[in-house]
Symmetry: C2
Subunit: 269 residues, 2 copies
């Protein structure tokens, strides 16, 4: 099977996206609004994907395979795209880092705020030490969303993620997408029982959607993908292969342990 | 191998808990303070576990198996234990629901607050609709922590979780603990490559730590465990078996789809 056939077969058997109609309407409104904005001229649209995707092991899902990703890269890149005049479709894993929130502690509500009582009036206040970070996060985030420049769409599973990757002028694929999955029809219906020894699993490869994205969904889009490896010996080789095989415009290569300090950028010339 | 041998072998090969010394010191201080509190008499101590535990598939972890759990049950139960005069060791999965926060939206900072500008002074304010929920969450949570009644200890992996289960007067085990795992020494060191077809995995059973908890770690503690199944036909049978096999004082039986409306309680008479 080639990638297009594999993709059709993946979608034919995937559980249907909940609220697909609502998501389509939001996307259409967001893109239409961009292209008709008067005065400032049309903004370019980029789809930034962010965070890891899950692979359920049971249809009534108790267990799943996940990919490590805090979502910092996707959230930060979104801030820079907005600053550079893009409108951003932010396709993010539920619970991961949000744009303008990366300098906040893990649990901002409980770590940044305090309650004070004054003349029998209870007030919620930001602690001085977190004051600037909290103000920036809330005001910048609200400005981007209410200004119509940022559309946030959450996903959890690989099935949701791949059904939501829509048409944009540019794709910046920072999400950690699963390479392996359990096809829906071969998935256990109920929670897998643990009574009878070790668990043997065979995971199928997720179709190489980058091929389809490039060839069928958005042949003219500018596509940036991200390659993460733990072994720096094979990183550049794999990133170069991705650049050529999927005809990406650029690939960001990073290694797990040093990814916050250094990345390498590979471009297709 | 019996459960005690399996447990030794599990801990011998598990990666060492980071900050183990600090955690031990915090636990000792918390328990000592309880038993020496003057005036109000000693408070009983319960260890509530909450949220799912991960099973890394690589030593330099990119992928892992996770167990679905929002942490609502553990967080809510913690509130009730505190209200009933217990001190609570809250052993929770990073990022899951915190005590007093269950009626808040998913991302409280971005969904409950707004920034207002007044005489060139930028202020952060709670939106009226979320005002009570936010005040309660912050004030009750701070009161419990600063009063010394609530000790919060986060975990992520099954290795961290099992190394942190310490001695208490009562255990209330709401965490969704992995049944299967990949032993550290048989784990891939680097990110598993996806180039060469499907992925076959054999997962070993996690030792039945409830046996060891009951027989060795805390023979006199009052132990409550929680059984979740997706198939209601086998739920009561499995819960009853857990009650008898591990000599739990009580087992909470719940089924995935109805767990927020109904649970069944089984007691050892």
């Amino acid at each position: 099977m080639d990638a297009v056939d594999e993709t059709s077969s993946f979608f034919d058997t995937a559980p249907l996206l909940k609220d697909g109609d609502i998501i389509t309407r939001k996307l259409t409104q967001f893109i239409d609004q961009k292209s008709s904005s008067s005065g400032i001229g049309p903004r370019r649209v980029v789809c930034v994907t962010s965070g890891g995707s899950t692979v359920p092991l049971e249809q009534r899902c108790v267990r799943y395979i996940d990919n490590f990703s805090s979502g910092h890269r996707g959230a930060t890149s979104t801030e820079y795209f907005l600053k550079s005049g893009y409108s951003v479709i932010f396709l993010y894993r539920r619970g991961t880092c949000q744009p303008y929130c990366r300098s906040l502690p893990e649990d901002p509500l409980l770590e940044c705020f305090q309650v004070t009582e004054d003349d029998s009036c209870i007030q919620v206040q930001v602690q001085e030490s977190h004051s600037e970070a909290v103000k920036t996060a809330i005001s910048e985030h609200h400005a981007a969303v209410s200004g119509g420049f940022l559309l946030k769409l959450p996903f959890t599973t690989i099935f949701e993620y791949l059904q939501m990757l829509g048409p944009s002028g540019m794709f910046y694929l920072a999400a950690a997408v699963s390479d392996f999955y359990v096809p829906w029809e071969s998935m256990a219906v109920h929670k897998i029982q643990s009574a009878s020894g070790p668990l043997d699993m065979r995971l199928a490869q997720v179709p190489k959607m980058l091929s389809v994205l490039r060839k069928v969904w958005a042949p003219t889009a500018f596509c940036v993908s991200i390659k993460l490896e733990t072994d720096k010996e094979i990183l550049l080789e794999k990133a170069d292969a991705a650049l050529k095989r999927y005809k990406m415009n650029a690939v960001v290569a990073n290694e797990l342990s040093s990814r916050k300090e250094v990345v390498k950028l590979l471009f297709l010339l």
